[in-house]
């Protein structure tokens, strides 16, 4: 029993408490072997609880592959995922917004349940690593108490909605996208139309086209703020992009519409969700992102289907209610504006000022970027940062897709003092947004799919580049490096000037960690174009390759105006490859064994630790999910019966039957309302009268349980009655499972 449950009662929103309690029931069912591990796996993913490297209970220790013998033995928390194995928890921070209280609680939880580190991801989330599944409910409750959810942070659902961290204070934006991203986040979170996707769905907002912050071009749905004059009035709206994505093969997004008025943003997104749920691939997850559906149908047909769907959507007040009082986001400066004061006795202040400060549109204020090495900060830093933020900017904190943190609304005269305080806690590193500020996915450190150590390499590059930061040519300094541990591109290497992704090569029977070099991607223009791969270099020689590539650029560019992309495009792939060709040769193991292990990992390199990734989640249909919900409810009814809470047992067992019936009806009538009358009527017509629900031997007996229960008066809250209902409900749900299986096989 989670002690925090009682302590936070009344603080935690009731609906969230209910969800966490349901998850606890599912955990209990998993412990008792009463739930399919595949379904439990996807259930936990949808709560942000993700697997981590070695969670199959095996690890290559450098000498041999060994079993990690956890105390939980055979107990699993998903296919091939051991119960006791530490896992990852992803926390959703919509558009990267974090308050002071949230930062404090996230720091507390990092040290109490994880490894003491908060990790900022490339999608403005925070991740904890090495968390035990049993600790998830208290973590979720404590996060929920400060308004944070982990719901739908992973799995085949709408993921964290991202937005420019400068939204609302940017000099270039058409308007502040924050209220729109908040409204869309709230609207789609747990929305029934977004529960049956074959893969994840990522949404991003940008305030302008030319700058990169929102990266709308590489998302399943990207919304770019624009304004238009309609009948003499300025109207807000969005240019909508769809089907963009990185992954192994990057797809630039297609334009869905040049201008979607603001009031159409939510309903169109909902309609898109419905089309994706209905027509998207469900079996082959490698082809299940919406980009593949669009490629299959063509953008025009996809658009036609979405618009058709939009026409028939039942009206929902939430589509526009947030617009009624003007779309505003309640972030305010806590200090008065002031002029910039550039003098400070701190030695590195000027360097920091030149790279980590952005002058806001609002005169007298700046945005300060806290550059985090590899996106990491410790719980101690997080807590201290929260107090510093409280003093200077209040809740105006946001996480960025470059794995940094920004403090917005800093009054300019406070910059020297703020610098001093950040410096004391090691958070005043200069060079934010420069070549030194390398981003990386988790790679082999914790990801099951990682091939090479992206964090090890990124750390090394950062270290080497930081040492020569002040001598770097301006053109080099402005480049961006991004590293992924494998081709899946979570480190966004495709849109970096210089990108790397991990792979491996066999050299005389040994495996050698390598990185494919990808050049000329465009971070600007919202991730406007993707880089080209020029060849794989042994991991240990990647820093040298960066030196050679950047030196050639400086020496050979036509003039100061030629960009890195322009240079790479002009000289061509073959030439760029020739620059690094000499680095591709790997010395033999006897000559230099250091090539045969990865950055920061003394073990001999191997691929033995790779597992099955959970990025995509298991493909579990909506019907399977709903049948599982029914099972959970009947399980809770049993517990209520044990506790002699007969009223609860009666209600839950009835509700479980209704849910199971609804799951079946949905196969044919997707929008069946959640009303007992309609569910029972539809069930009768579609499944009972047609005998499709009938059991070979018991015939209509189990189906009748629901019909009778519906016709009965309020049941007596006595043990005999409750027990009968629970048993009938159990049998009804079993029959619903069999019926679903027969339908899936095309037998009925």
């Amino acid at each position: 029993m989670d002690q925090w449950k009682d302590k936070l009662a009344g603080i935690l929103p009731e609906s969230l408490e209910q969800e966490i309690s349901e998850f606890e029931s599912q955990m209990e069912m998993m412990r008792r072997g009463e739930i399919d591990p595949r379904i439990f796996g996807e259930t936990r993913l949808r709560r942000g609880i993700y697997g981590q490297r070695y969670d199959n209970g095996q690890r290559d220790d450098g000498n041999r592959i060994r079993e990690i013998v956890f105390p939980s033995g055979e107990l699993m928390k998903g296919p091939d995922t051991v119960w006791d194995a530490p896992g990852m928890l992803r926390i959703k921070n919509p558009f990267g917004a974090v308050t002071v209280d949230q930062m404090i609680v996230m720091s507390d939880l990092a040290e109490e349940y994880a490894d003491g580190v908060l990790h900022v991801t490339t999608r403005q989330d925070i991740q904890y690593h090495y968390v035990h599944i049993e600790d998830m409910p208290p973590v979720m409750r404590r996060l929920g108490a400060v308004g944070i959810t982990t719901k739908e942070a992973c799995g085949n659902v709408v993921r964290n909605v991202t937005a420019c961290p400068l939204a609302g204070v940017c000099n270039d934006e058409a308007f502040d996208v924050t209220p729109y991203s908040a409204a869309l986040t709230n609207f789609l979170l747990g929305h029934p139309d977004c529960q049956d996707f074959g893969r994840k769905f990522k949404i991003a907002f940008s305030g302008c086209y030319d700058h990169a912050c929102g990266l709308v071009n590489m998302h399943d749905l990207g919304a770019l703020a624009i304004t238009k004059k309609v009948d003499g009035k300025i109207k807000r709206g969005f240019k909508l992009f769809v089907g963009g994505g990185l992954g192994a093969v990057p797809h630039p997004a297609k334009i869905f519409d040049e201008f979607v008025p603001e009031e159409e943003l939510l309903p169109l997104s909902q309609a898109m969700g419905r089309v994706f749920a209905r027509l998207g691939e469900k079996k082959n997850r490698a082809k299940a992102r919406v980009k593949f559906l669009i490629a299959k149908l063509g953008i025009d047909e996809f658009k036609r289907l979405v618009l058709e769907e939009r026409k028939i959507l039942p009206h929902d007040d939430r589509w526009t209610s947030y617009l009624e009082h003007g779309p505003v986001y309640g972030e305010k400066a806590i200090k008065s504006p002031s002029d910039i004061k550039t003098s400070s006795d701190e030695p590195n202040f000027d360097h920091w000022l030149s790279t980590n400060i952005y002058s806001q549109r609002q005169k007298g204020y700046s945005v300060v970027t806290i550059a985090l090495p590899l996106g990491d900060l410790s719980s101690h830093q997080g807590r201290k940062l929260a107090y510093i933020a409280d003093k200077y900017v209040g809740d105006a904190i946001r996480l960025t897709v470059e794995q940094n943190i920004v403090l917005r609304w800093v009054s300019n005269k406070d910059l020297p003092e703020l610098y001093k305080e950040l410096n004391v806690i090691g958070l005043a590193t200069p060079d934010a947004g420069t070549i030194v500020d390398v981003t990386s996915c988790p790679g082999t450190d914790t990801c099951k799919l990682g091939i090479a150590s992206s964090r090890g390499l990124a750390g090394e590059l950062r270290l080497q580049l930081a040492q020569k930061s002040l001598e770097l040519d301006k053109a080099i300094k402005g480049l961006r490096i991004k590293v992924s541990g494998c081709f899946n591109s979570c480190g966004q290497h495709h849109i970096a000037d210089i990108g790397f992704y991990g792979n491996s090569r066999n050299i005389k029977g040994f495996k050698v960690p390598h990185f494919q070099v990808v050049l000329g991607g465009e971070w600007k223009n919202n991730g406007g174009s993707y880089g080209m791969a020029i060849g794989a270099v042994p991991s240990k020689r990647i820093p040298k390759s960066v030196t050679l590539i950047t030196e050639s650029f400086i020496k050979e560019r036509l003039n100061f105006d030629e960009s890195f992309q322009g240079y790479v495009g002009r000289v061509g792939k073959k030439y760029m490859r020739s620059i690094i060709e000499g680095l591709m040769i790997v010395p033999s193991y006897e000559e230099d064994s250091s090539y045969y292990s990865d950055w920061g990992d003394p073990r001999e390199f191997s691929l033995g630790d790779m597992g099955v990734g959970e990025c995509a989640g298991e493909i579990v249909t909506r019907e399977e999910f709903e049948l599982q919900t029914a099972e959970r409810e009947v399980f809770e009814a049993q517990l209520a019966l044990e506790e002699k809470n007969f009223r609860d047992a009666n209600d839950k067992s009835y509700h479980a039957m209704l849910n199971a019936a609804r799951a079946l009806i949905r196969i044919e009538n997707y929008d069946v309302p959640n009303s007992p009358e309609i569910i029972v009527q539809e069930f009768k017509v579609r499944f009972f009268d047609t005998k499709r629900f009938f059991d070979k031997y018991a015939k209509g007996k189990f189906g009748r349980y629901l019909l009778q229960r519906f016709d009965e008066d309020e049941p007596k809250d006595i043990e005999d009655v409750a027990r009968r209902y629970v048993e009938e409900s159990q049998l009804f749900i079993e029959a619903a499972h069999s019926c679903y299986a027969r339908i899936s096989r095309g037998e009925v």
Binding site: Q3, W4, K7, R53, Y54, R59, D61, G62, N63, I68, V69, F70, P71, D84, A85, P86, I104, D108, E111, E112, D115, G116, V117, H129, Y130, H132, P373, L374, D376, L377, S378, H380, Q381, R383, K384, Y387, I425, G426, D445, G456, G459, R462, G600, D601, P602, R603
Partner: protein, 168 residues
């Protein structure tokens, strides 16, 4: 309650803390820590005021930690250990001291590091021991029972931080 942490402070170190990466890997390879299911090594050297190099285990994590610039070997317990708080802390101390010995006899780093006799005790459970006066008293009381000859002091607390006691 089992969520305590104990740090044995380091007087001097004459090697890059990264040399603890292979050392911890070796502990996993050779099952050096009894009764621990060791999982992996994490390198957080790049985080100032952080856990440094960590050895992740199911029962508790070891780290060459530098919180507040106080370098030491920290052991944070994750699973239940003793019947009472004092028993738990005592058992944690034994585990930590055993790990310190392993480091001292290591041929590569043993001679380059000098541990002091000072410890720092942490409570890592804000439900049982939140950062308040009452909990501080409780923790001091338990600690004085376990480390009965030692001088105990409480460093100036940061609001909300986990409770800490210096032991020397």
């Amino acid at each position: 309650m089992h969520k305590f942490g104990l740090k044995r402070k380091i007087k001097s170190i004459n090697t890059d803390i990264e040399s603890f990466v292979p050392l911890f890997h070796n502990w996993i390879q050779e099952d050096k820590i009894p009764n621990h299911t060791m999982v992996d090594v994490a390198n957080y050297k790049h985080i100032p005021d952080g856990p440094g190099i960590m050895l992740i285990a199911h029962e508790g994590h070891f780290s060459l930690d530098f919180e507040d610039d106080e370098l030491g070997l920290l052991y944070v317990r994750k699973t239940p250990l003793g019947e009472s708080n004092s028993e738990t802390i005592l058992a944690i101390q034994q585990i930590l001291d055993f790990a310190v010995k392993l480091i001292q006899i290591d041929s590569k780093v043993g001679e380059k590091i000098e541990f002091s006799d000072k410890y720092q005790l942490f409570s890592n459970d804000r439900f049982e021991l939140p950062n308040d006066v009452e909990s501080k008293k409780k923790l001091l009381q338990v600690a004085s029972g376990v480390f009965n000859d030692a001088i105990l002091s409480v460093p100036p607390p940061l609001k909300g931080a986990r409770l800490k006691i210096n032991i020397q």
